[in-house]
Symmetry: C2
Subunit: 345 residues, 2 copies
């Protein structure tokens, strides 16, 4: 298996290093071979080549079986003509990873980290399926002059169908409930979205379907997070709501994501940012990246046993009380990125 590795910026390289150590452990224990090829990406690539997504990086990604990405961005590149984020958007589009899968899981025993009351978040365990290569982030026209600016949100039936089907497939192996989020009382794209969901739902009579308006969904995410199983929505709503939901866990640093295409390689990255303020200080939580490796093993390589072994190792390490600073609530053992990796490994 060939894996393209894009450390990126800030804490990206540190968490990637930890994740590769864990991957090595999996290879040894289960007798696999993983070939990893590191490539420059994001701000680092702007510095080196003036382009956040150099051709050679994209080629390596497309020629691989999966891509691991650390994190991109930082204030250093905020004022520049080209931003690291553009590389991320371009990579998603070029790899056609239209389905962003993001689990939101409140770990038993870590409820106290949540800004919400423990009884509100206890047992919350749901997954976002966010459309990632369409909608207002990519549609044309997109233009701006002195007086006026325009963005376009467009979706085709095909684009909606494939993401909604992913959601129903996922729900089949979970608690069999799909919550579709739109703004069908106002937006045309949402009306089409809702139509498609109704169509796809017919093929899954055992799965419960509900439609929420995005404003109400933003409320229920907080007032009743345990009411969700699979949440499917378009790109921008997914961006906002999945970030909102990630705060509920109180442990952003532990959250993985997978961005999947139809048949090509998947892209795996933690949801946290590049955290330039703590880069290099050994404070980064490597768990988001390590759990992204688990998602890669499951979704790109169909290595379910191996994925579960990684998840179990993370869970046991947390149960044993090891904590990086971001999830240290005053009890347990405060450890560095490296020590956390060694414990999980």
């Amino acid at each position: 298996k060939r894996i393209a590795v894009l450390p990126g910026d800030g804490i990206g390289p540190e968490v990637i290093k930890g994740a590769l150590q864990v991957l090595d452990g999996v290879a040894t224990r289960f007798g696999h071979e993983f070939e990893t090829i590191e490539q420059v990406f994001g701000g680092a690539a702007i510095d080196q080549e003036g382009n956040p997504l150099p051709d050679s990086t994209l080629k390596t990604c497309n020629d691989s079986d999966a891509v691991l990405l650390g994190a991109v961005g930082g204030p250093k590149w905020d004022q520049g003509k080209v931003r690291p984020e553009q590389g991320l958007l371009a990579l998603r589009k070029a790899m056609n990873v239209f389905a962003n899968v993001r689990p939101v899981h409140v770990y038993p025993g870590l409820e106290h980290l949540s800004p919400l009351k423990s009884n509100k978040v206890k047992g919350a365990d749901f997954v976002f399926v966010r459309e990632l290569t369409g909608g207002i982030y990519f549609s044309e026209p997109k233009e701006r002059n002195e007086k006026r600016a325009v963005d376009t949100m467009s979706y085709t039936r095909e684009e909606i169908t494939r993401i909604v089907e992913k959601a129903y497939e996922l729900a089949s192996s979970r608690r069999r409930k799909v919550t579709s989020v739109d703004k069908a009382n106002v937006l045309e794209t949402s009306k089409l979205w809702r139509e498609v969901v109704e169509d796809v739902a017919k093929k899954y009579p055992n799965i419960e379907t509900e439609h929420l308006l995005v404003d109400y969904a933003a409320m229920r995410m907080i007032s009743n997070p345990t009411s969700f199983d699979v949440v499917v929505t378009e790109n921008m709503f997914g961006d906002i709501l999945s970030d909102e939901a990630s705060v509920l866990t109180g442990s952003l640093g532990m959250m993985p994501s997978a961005s999947l295409s139809e048949n090509g390689p998947g892209l795996y990255e933690p949801i946290h940012g590049s955290a330039p303020d703590i880069a290099g200080s050994g404070k980064a939580n490597p768990i988001g990246m390590i759990l992204s490796v688990a998602m890669m093993l499951r979704h790109s390589f169909q290595l379910e046993k191996e994925a579960e072994a990684v998840e179990l190792a993370v869970f046991e390490t947390l149960q044993a009380g090891y904590r990086t600073g971001d999830i240290y609530g005053g009890s347990g053992t405060l450890v560095s990125t490296k020590e956390m990796v060694n414990q999980i490994h």
Copy 2:
């Protein structure tokens, strides 16, 4: 002063009735005269005239000094060809109420109602200034066929300038901090938005300005709600974030809003919906509507003393322990809509 009154649907008529009683009290106590003219609107108007915003209703609104609105919508009209919400959007547009002002205030002593830990929300007191008549809810083209749907998000410099100026004016009389929310790393409209904010900010050197990306704002709304004073943002982001924020207070039923135009009448409504499930049962919380009356007194009639008297009456009633069902935490005196109004009155 002429006030157009639109009770609307569900609990709308009940809370309007309570609010008018309180307004009557203000008139008597302070020696004012308010003329109120009731008009049909929303689902009720669809039933009666096939149009959620009949011409006569709109004319009355435009000829008034202010408009009080209860709530619109309900499952009864969800499948119909025309929806009550369309009337609301049309009314906002026709009245040109581009500035939606929504306080988010966690009442001292009511922190326990929040889904968040009390120490997280204690002291949260901020205001949304949401652009209400532009952006993706109104821009053209907006179309849909079997295969594809399109919505357009467009903003002119003028549209952005007037709403941002409202935000800075408001911040001047508060804690002097403006948080502008956009998605400037992706959207052209957001880039223009940020440019305008930077321009307007120069005129207010004593006001602190910060820019947040919408996804991050959705997080900080929960993780650090006391960090906000005035939040200004475009229509859809404002829709999502202000609803998200309203949950923090744990008392949706108590939240008012004002939608203001340049020189014409303002539109005042509670943020809660029509709650058809409890309509007519005496369970509705009238406080959101009553505090909307206070906002009307302040913003449309410059009756600051009167506005404060209403707010004080609400506050004292809450302090005395009176609670409608939605804010009853097990202690205090559970009262009906009517009893709550009588206590405040």
